[in-house]
């Protein structure tokens, strides 16, 4: 919050809404905003069981990029990046988008081939991408160790100059303020515990604060989506895992871009204040406790210190975790369900922050028109039974 005026009004839930959105992360808030702004649907409530944007939205490492291999992924993430670039103007509030560039390191011959292929695929899709050799990586990131002696030496990197980070809390608050101004009700401390049905149609939700009728119900409950759909007997190809991040003490500026490595599995950027922000992979096992295992921290810190020897002097300040839902192909599920009036936006796994404006934009369009937005169409639930290419984590250019 800035100044004295709250960014959004505290509301009591009403008996019913045209659209009820479950979950007030970035995706839920953006969806509500675009429903109101682009589709004129303003009778919308966003129900949040905790506090606004206190889930993964408040816990991520804030990396934004669109250098995905698969055309459909490149399509939706680049759509999001385009929206990011105009977001401060659109919402009239700062989100501190910092296009400081993202490097994805390659450490093996296979990595190199995959990376060069991805650069070419990105360019064919009109996405800025370059292949850098180790010397060029060193020029951008002077503190990185590019000597061949490393267990996993740096053999090069892909580079997306337009990629970067944004301040996640500010993003959420900007969407919240803009949605509130358009009449959307943002209701915290209101857990959805079940659904009201008429036959195969969902007509409302049960909540900790009583039943709420709804013309349409849209799930943006990252990490907990299948817990909700279980109550309808709808099983989804989702597994929920803890994902953690950590920050160090404040340091002098040492790195002014974002460096990611899937092979040794660490991501790092430096916050404006000076903390090094480090992320890694999910815990292998399912979990809903918002703390990850120490073994993951150990691996990520070891990888970070090997790549950036100066990090060995940094004190670890704090670690935390979120719960992400992962699909078999590391791609989201967006669209309709076998229940009329129930829409899914889930499965963004470890990478949904970068999609926030794009996900909200195409999801709002999908809900408003009761058919998938063209950019969302490849991400329908039916792809798993339709013979589509599945089990392609590499295609999404993410590791888990």
């Amino acid at each position: 919050m800035t100044g004295d005026a709250p960014l959004w009004r505290r509301r009591e839930p009403e008996a019913g809404y045209d659209v009820v959105i479950v979950g007030s992360g970035g995706h839920g808030l953006a969806t509500a905003y675009y429903l109101a702004r682009e589709h004129g649907i303003r009778d919308v409530a966003v129900l949040e069981r905790g506090w606004l944007a206190g889930g993964n939205m408040a816990r991520n490492t804030a990396i934004i990029r669109s250098n995905y291999l698969w055309d459909a992924s490149a399509g939706i993430y680049e759509h999001a990046l385009g929206l990011w670039e105009g977001l401060e103007e659109e919402l009239g509030r700062p989100v501190l988008l910092s296009q400081r560039g993202v490097l994805n390191l390659a450490h093996t011959t296979h990595d190199v081939r995959e990376s060069v292929r991805r650069v070419n695929a990105n360019r064919l899709n009109g996405i800025d991408a370059e292949w850098l050799d180790p010397e060029e990586v060193k020029k951008l990131v002077p503190i990185i160790d590019i000597t061949p002696a490393l267990r996993y030496p740096v053999l090069g990197a892909t580079y997306q100059p337009r990629a970067g980070i944004a301040k996640h809390d500010l993003v959420a608050w900007a969407f919240a303020a803009a949605a509130d101004a358009l009449g959307v009700h943002l209701i915290e401390d209101c857990e959805v515990t079940g659904f009201q049905r008429r036959g195969d149609r969902v007509v409302g939700v049960e909540t900790g604060r009583g039943p709420i009728a709804a013309g349409r119900v849209a799930l943006c409950a990252a990490g907990h989506t299948s817990v909700l759909t279980d109550r309808l007997g709808l099983r989804l190809p989702l597994q929920s895992h803890p994902l953690q991040a950590l920050v160090t003490q404040l340091l002098e500026p040492v790195i002014d871009t974002v460096v990611m490595s899937n092979t040794v599995h660490v991501y790092v950027s430096q916050a404006d204040k000076g903390e090094l922000v480090l992320g890694a992979g999910i815990d292998a096992y399912n979990g809903y406790g918002r703390r990850g295992s120490f073994a993951t921290i150990e691996h990520q810190v070891a990888a970070a210190v090997a790549l950036f020897p100066v990090f060995e002097h940094a004190e670890l300040l704090r670690t935390w975790g979120g719960i992400v839902d992962v699909t078999p192909d590391a791609s989201p599920i967006i669209g309709r369900t076998p229940y009329e009036g129930l829409y899914l936006n889930c499965g963004w796994g470890t990478g949904g922050f970068k999609a926030t404006p794009g996900a909200g934009h195409v999801f709002a369009d999908t809900i408003a028109n009761d058919r998938p937005h063209p950019l969302a169409e490849p991400f329908g639930l039916d792809r798993f039974a339709a013979g589509a290419l599945v089990d392609e984590h590499g295609a999404a250019a993410v590791a888990h």
């Binding site: 515990t193 907990h224 299948s226 817990v227 279980d230 099983r235 989804l236 190809p237 989702l238 597994q239 929920s240 292998a284 096992y285 399912n286 979990g287 809903y288 406790g289 295992s293 120490f294 073994a295 839902d325 078999p328 798993f384 039974a385 339709a386 013979g387 599945v390």
Partner: protein, 116 residues
């Protein structure tokens, strides 16, 4: 950090194990009898409960055998474990699949079943 009770080696650090997901998912007896949706279900859909979960772990750095473990996915309490050749523990009752700690009586979950 999980302390996973291997039925053969006793309680060991999670770093020694590989995760195998949901326990008791049998290969369809007659795959040709399944339609696309049922086949996709078998391939891609697993339970994902917030609460007790019967799962498989492989003791990679130990005896290199698979076991079943009954774990609460919210607070990581482990209620039971047993050889993978036995019946997977029942998330509803917490029974079956042997005991969590071979040296002490079985600790059945106090609040079995899915969390609210």
């Amino acid at each position: 950090m999980l302390l996973i009770p291997c039925p053969w080696c006793g309680p060991r650090d999670e770093a020694e194990f590989r995760y195998g997901g949901q326990a008791g998912v049998a290969h369809p007896q007659d795959p040709w009898a399944l339609d696309d949706r049922a086949w996709a279900d078998y391939l891609f859909v697993r339970d994902n409960p917030e609460g007790w979960f019967a799962e498989r772990w492989f003791h990679t750095s130990g005896c290199r055998r698979w076991c079943h473990v009954l774990r609460d996915t919210v607070d990581n309490r482990i209620a039971a474990s047993g050889p993978a050749t036995t019946q997977a523990p029942d998330p509803g009752t917490g029974r079956g699949g042997g005991r969590a700690d071979p040296s002490s009586p079985a600790t059945a979950p106090t609040t079995p079943g899915r969390r609210a």
